[in-house]
């Protein structure tokens, strides 16, 4: 058991070491820490189209590496963040953005959760109201007619 744990730990170490080396070579390419920070920020906003649930910052797919290289080149060329993002959108569409823009086609995407929450709130309020009126009704004393009927029933039982 202990040796197994050691093995797992060793494997973990080597795998993280491999990742570290990989990012180290990338970091070496960009000596400028400010540019590197911008690259990191931009990469986290852009989707890798090969592994669609990863940003190009996370992904090690070929395409993500190429796109990071492009972003880096554009930063070096003095392009603004907007210009860089537009470059990507022109080529890959809004899908490349991790935060899709609010427009006609994405209205349901952005509004959906709010809509669902309102619906839930509405249902909750309605349920609570109904419940409280039901409880109120249960706590009310018997009306004269009801009391009379109850008496009659009790008497009927006594006669038997």
């Amino acid at each position: 058991m202990k040796s197994l744990l050691t093995l797992i730990f060793a494997l973990f170490l080597t795998s993280t070491a491999a990742i570290a080396v990989d990012s180290a070579t990338e970091a070496a390419l960009a000596a400028d820490p400010v540019a590197e920070k911008r690259l990191q920020k931009l990469s986290e906003e852009l989707r890798c189209l090969v592994c669609q649930n990863q940003t190009i910052a996370d992904s090690n797919a070929e395409l993500a590496q190429d796109l990071r290289r492009e972003v880096r080149a554009m930063i070096k060329a003095g392009k603004s963040d907007k210009e860089i993002v537009d470059f990507m959108v022109v080529r890959y569409g809004d899908f490349v953005l991790y935060r899709p823009p609010v427009k006609g086609i994405t209205l349901l995407l952005w509004g959906g959760p709010v809509l669902l929450m309102l619906l839930g709130l509405f249902a909750l309020v309605r349920y609570l109201r109904r419940r409280s009126t039901r409880i109120d009704a249960e706590e009310q004393p018997l009306s004269a007619a009801e009391a009379g009927r109850a008496d009659a029933l009790l008497k009927e039982n006594n006669l038997k």
């Binding site: 189209l49 090969v50 190429d66 022109v90 080529r91 890959y92 569409g93 809004d94």
Partner: protein, 194 residues
């Protein structure tokens, strides 16, 4: 009773939503390039490396641009369809070889000189076309994948239909099947040829 009806209805709606959603192809990302002019490039031609081709040279013709590479497994599956297409029509089919050496993954690019990469890429592409047949009028070589980025390539193979004015009219991601070719591309080509 009414309440159970609601729950059942909500469940049915969820099932329909998931059935439709899971049936869609996540790779089918609509390209913003459809309806826009084909991005310009000037790349060396595989058969005549000293010459280049650019989309401008194709002006006035309806043509297909097919992105491929020898390392791309789906391209192999698609290839017979393309060979068949080139036999049946005279619509020019231009190959865009995408990252022939870099995309392979089997080479240490840090150690390879640009000249060496170029030589190897041409050699590999030529060999592949000799082995599997060459459906292309000509193939251009995009060694570093920059042109691929301009065309929004993210999964080889991809195919673009470009009209006489040089505007992209359709993009297909993934291997072309005989059905896609006969039901989508051929009718479009016939319409554009008018």
């Amino acid at each position: 009773m009414n309440r159970y009806f609601w729950i059942l209805g909500a469940f049915a709606a969820l099932v329909v939503l998931l059935a439709v959603g899971l049936g869609l192809n996540p790779r089918d990302v609509p390209s913003p390039l459809v309806g826009k002019p084909a991005p310009a490039f000037s790349l060396p031609v595989l058969a005549t490396p000293n010459k280049t081709l650019s989309p401008k040279d194709m002006q006035g013709k309806v043509w297909l641009l097919n992105v491929w590479a020898s390392w791309c497994v789906s391209c192999r599956a698609e290839h017979p369809v393309l060979v068949d297409f080139s036999r049946k029509t005279d619509v020019p089919l231009i190959g865009l070889n995408y990252k022939e050496v870099r995309g392979d993954g089997g080479f240490d690019m840090g150690k390879m000189a640009p000249d060496e990469e170029r030589k190897l890429a041409f050699q590999r592409a030529n060999q592949w076309l000799t082995e599997h047949g060459d459906p292309y009028k000509l193939t251009v070589m995009d060694l570093d994948g920059r042109v691929g980025i301009d065309y929004g390539v993210y999964g080889v193979p991809e195919t673009y239909v470009i009209d006489k004015a040089g505007v992209i009219r359709m993009k297909h991601t993934g291997p072309l099947s005989p059905e896609v070719l006969s039901q989508k591309i051929m009718p479009l080509l016939a319409e554009l040829a008018k």
